[in-house]
C-alpha cells in the first residue's frame, strides 16, 4: 500500500543572484523590463482578467474563501463583547480596502467610544488589527496565485511585512481624516468632487503598496515609491477603472443595497448576513484583482526611481 506522501511546497528556484521572490531585499535586483512606449501600449492586464483572477483566487480555494467570511463573524462577536448593541450598517466594509476600511474603523470607534481622544486611540488600534489581517490575506492570496493552495508560508510572508502594511494603513487613515476635514472646509463647490476624487486617488496610488511590501519584503518608503510608480505605468487607465469600480460599487452598494439598513437590531437576519458575506467576498475579489495587476506589471517597475535627466544648460 502506497504511503500518502506529505505534500510539500516547493519554493521558487533562486535567481542568478541567489535571491528568491519574496525574500528579504537583495543588494541587487534584476533590471526592470523596458516599458513599451508606443501609443496604446499597456502593461496592465484587462480589467476583466484581473477580476477573474481575483475571483478565482478568493473563491476557488476553500481556505482563502472561508477565512475572511468566518473573520466577519468573529469581528461581530468581538464588537458585541465590546458593548455594541446593534449590527452597524457599515459592516459590509469590515474587510474593505483602504480608505473605505479606514472609514469603517472610524465609524465603529465613534460608535463604541463617542467623540473623545480615546476614539483616536481606538482608530489606531483598529488600524493595527486591519494591517495584520491585510498583510496575512495578501500573503495567502499571493501564495494561492503561485501554488494554488495556502500553507503557513504565505501568511508568514505577510506578517513579515506588517510594518510597511501598517504604514500604508496609517497613510490611508491620515488622508481620510484630514481629507474629510478639508472637504468640509471646501464646502459645496469643490468639496463633493474632492470627496470622491480623494478616496479614488488613495486606491489608485497606494493599493499596490502593501502588495509590493509583502511580495518584495521591502521597506515602507520603497513600497510606497514603487506603488506610485507602478500605478503610473502605460495603460494606467485600466488600473484607474479598477480603482473607480471598486470605490463606487463598494460605497454605493453599502449606501443603497444594504438590506434592513433601518432595522436596528443586535441579531442580524439571514438577508443581512448574506449581504455582508457577499460584500466581504467582493472586497477579497478586488484585493485579488489588485494583486493580479501588480504581478502583471511588477517586472516593469524599476527598483529605484529613474533619475531625471538634467535640464539642458543655456548657453
Amino acid at each position: 500500500m502506497a504511503k500518502k506522501r506529505k505534500r510539500t511546497q516547493r519554493r521558487p528556484a533562486r535567481s542568478g543572484n541567489g535571491h528568491r521572490p519574496g525574500d528579504a531585499p537583495a543588494h541587487t535586483e534584476p533590471e526592470a523590463e523596458a516599458v513599451p512606449r508606443h501609443p496604446g501600449a499597456t502593461v496592465f492586464p484587462p480589467v476583466y482578467r484581473s477580476l477573474l483572477t481575483g475571483f478565482e483566487t478568493a473563491a476557488g480555494n476553500p481556505v482563502m474563501l472561508l477565512v475572511p467570511l468566518v473573520l466577519v463573524l468573529v469581528v461581530w462577536m468581538a464588537l458585541v463583547a465590546a458593548g455594541l448593541s446593534f449590527f452597524p450598517f457599515e459592516m459590509p466594509s469590515v474587510l474593505a480596502l483602504t480608505p473605505i476600511g479606514s472609514s469603517f474603523d472610524g465609524a465603529i470607534s465613534t460608535t463604541l467610544l463617542g467623540m473623545s481622544l480615546w476614539t483616536l486611540a481606538a482608530i489606531l488600534l483598529f488600524t493595527m488589527l486591519r494591517s495584520l489581517v491585510v498583510a496575512v490575506f495578501i500573503g495567502m492570496m499571493d501564495e494561492v496565485m503561485d501554488f494554488g493552495h495556502v500553507t503557513g508560508v504565505g501568511p508568514l510572508r505577510g506578517l513579515r511585512s506588517f510594518l510597511p502594511v501598517l504604514t500604508y494603513e496609517y497613510i490611508g487613515v491620515l488622508i481620510t481624516l484630514f481629507g474629510s476635514i478639508f472637504v468640509q472646509m471646501l464646502g459645496a463647490g469643490a468639496g463633493p468632487i474632492l470627496r470622491i476624487a480623494l478616496p479614488v486617488a488613495v486606491i489608485f496610488f497606494l493599493t499596490f503598496m502593501p502588495i509590493v511590501a509583502v511580495r518584495k519584503g521591502i521597506r515602507a518608503r520603497d513600497a510606497l515609491s514603487r506603488s506610485i510608480r507602478g500605478a503610473r505605468l502605460p495603460g494606467w487607465i485600466r488600473h484607474l477603472v479598477l480603482s473607480m469600480a471598486y470605490y463606487f460599487v463598494a460605497t454605493l452598494g453599502q449606501d443603497f443595497l444594504t438590506p434592513d439598513r433601518y432595522v436596528i437590531t443586535a441579531t442580524p437576519g439571514f438577508r443581512t448576513w448574506v449581504f455582508v458575506l457577499g460584500a466581504t467576498l467582493f472586497n477579497m475579489v478586488f484585493l485579488g484583482a489588485f494583486i493580479a495587476e501588480w504581478r502583471a506589471i511588477e517586472s516593469y517597475v524599476p527598483a529605484k526611481a529613474p533619475r531625471r535627466a538634467p535640464a539642458p544648460r543655456r548657453r
Partner: protein, 489 residues
Amino acid sequence: MPASARRFALVAASVLALMFAPGFAAAADEEEPGGVVAPAGPVGDWSQFQGDAAHTADAPGGPPPPYEPAWEFPVDGPSGPSSPVIHEGVVYAVGPESVFAVDPATGEQKWSVPRTPGSANPVPAIASVGGEDMLVFLQGSGQETSLAMVNLHDHERAVQLPVIEQDASRGVTVFSDTAYVGDVRGTVHAVDLTERETLWTYDVGESPVILPPPADVGSLYVNGADQRGIQHLAALDATTGEQRWKVPIGPLGLTTSGLSLSDGTIYAAFADGSVRAYAAEDGNLRWSSRVLRPAPSPFLPVSPFMAPAVSGGMVFIGGGSGGVYALDASTGELVWDYQFSGGPAGFILRSAPVVASTSVLIGLQDGRLGAVDTVEGTGIFEVAVDADPSGRRPLKGIAVSDELIVASRGGGGGGLVAYRPDPEGNLTATASPTRFRLGPTLASYALALLLVAGVAFAIAWIVRALIARRSPPPDPMEDAGDDLAGEVG
C-alpha cells in the same frame, strides 16, 4: 463618499474641537439610585410644551395602555397643528391660520380664533393673567413675529403682545404671568403678560433657541452657542434677565436636545451620545452618561426638537435612531433601553417622550404611538391611525389628560389624534431588538455562509473549468525543447 466616511469627518472635526474646548471634564457624583415610582394622581393641566414650565412630561395619573383611537380632528395645511395643550379637559392647539379648542369627548371644534400665519406652528401655553385663563401663542414670521393671547372664556379675539422681530422657536414657556420665547438669532425674550410689554431680552449666542426654555421659581435655563462656537448652558434671573451662571457644555456642532428641569437638576441629551445632568443652582455637571446609539446617516443620535422626560426618579430620553433610554436620575446609570424599529420611517422618533402612568409614550415618524414599560423596559403597546410607512405623516407632540392621550399628526392631512384606554386591548412584553441573541445569530450566519461560500466556490470551479477548456493543450515539443535546453545548459 460613504455615510461612514461622513461620520468619520464629524469625528475628526469634533475631536479637534474637543481638544480646544475649555472646561469639558467633570466628575460624576455618587448618589442614591432613583427609580421610585411617584404615586398616581389626577393629571391636571398639560399646560405647555412637555406638560409644565419645567418640561418634565410627567403624568403619573394619565391613562395607561392599551389604547384605541377616540377621535381625529383634521387640520388643513402642509404641516399639521402644533403639539396640543390641555386645560380643564379641553384640548387647544395652534394651526396654520387659527388657534382652536376641541371638545375632548367628541373631537368637535369648540371655537377658533384667526392667527397670522407663521413659518411653523409653535406650541402654545396656558397662562393665568389677572385671574383670567389665557392661551398664549406665537404668530407671524420674520420681523412680523409676535406673541398673542386669547381669553379661554370669551375667546373673541386675540390680544396682540410685543413683537419678537425674529422667527421664534417652537413654542412658549409660561411661568407665573411671564412668557418666555427664544428666537432664531439666539435671543430669549421675556414678556410680561399683565403689562403686555417686554421685560427683558438676553442674547444666548449665535445659534437658534429651538425649544421653549424650562423655568422654575425665579430662574430660566437656556443653552446656545457663542461666537466662538462653544455651547453654553446659562441660568437667568426670571424677573430681570440677569445671568446667574454660565458654563460651557460642548464644542461647535454638538447638537443638543431641549432642556428639562426636575428637583434642582437640568437634564439634556447630546449628539455625542451622552445624557448629562447639571445642577440648577450653579451649573456644575452632576453626571454624564454616554448611552445613546448612533443613528444611521443623516440622522443624529439626538434630536434638537426633543427634551427628556423626568418621572419617578428616572430620566427618559428619545434618541434620534428610535431608541428610548431610561436612566437613573441621580446617578445617570442606564436602567434600560428599548429600540423601536420597522421600515425607513419606523425608527425615527418625532415626539419627545412622555410618561403616562407607568408607560413611556413616544410618537414615530410613520404615525405610530409606541409605549414602553417604565419598569421593565419592554415594548408593551403600539397603535396607529392610518400608519404611513413613508413617514410623511409623523406623530409629533403628545399631551396627556386624565382620560385621553392627544397627539398632533404632521404632514398634509394632519391634525389631532386622540386615544382612550381600551379595556379589551392586549399588552405585549416585547424585548428590545438590541438585545443580542446568540442562537438566531449563529443560525442565520451559518445559512448565509453556506449559501455565499457554496455559490462562490461553484462559480469559481466553473470559471476555472472554462479557462482550462479554452487554453490550448501543452505542446509536447516545447516541453521536450525545454528539457533539452536544460541538459545542454
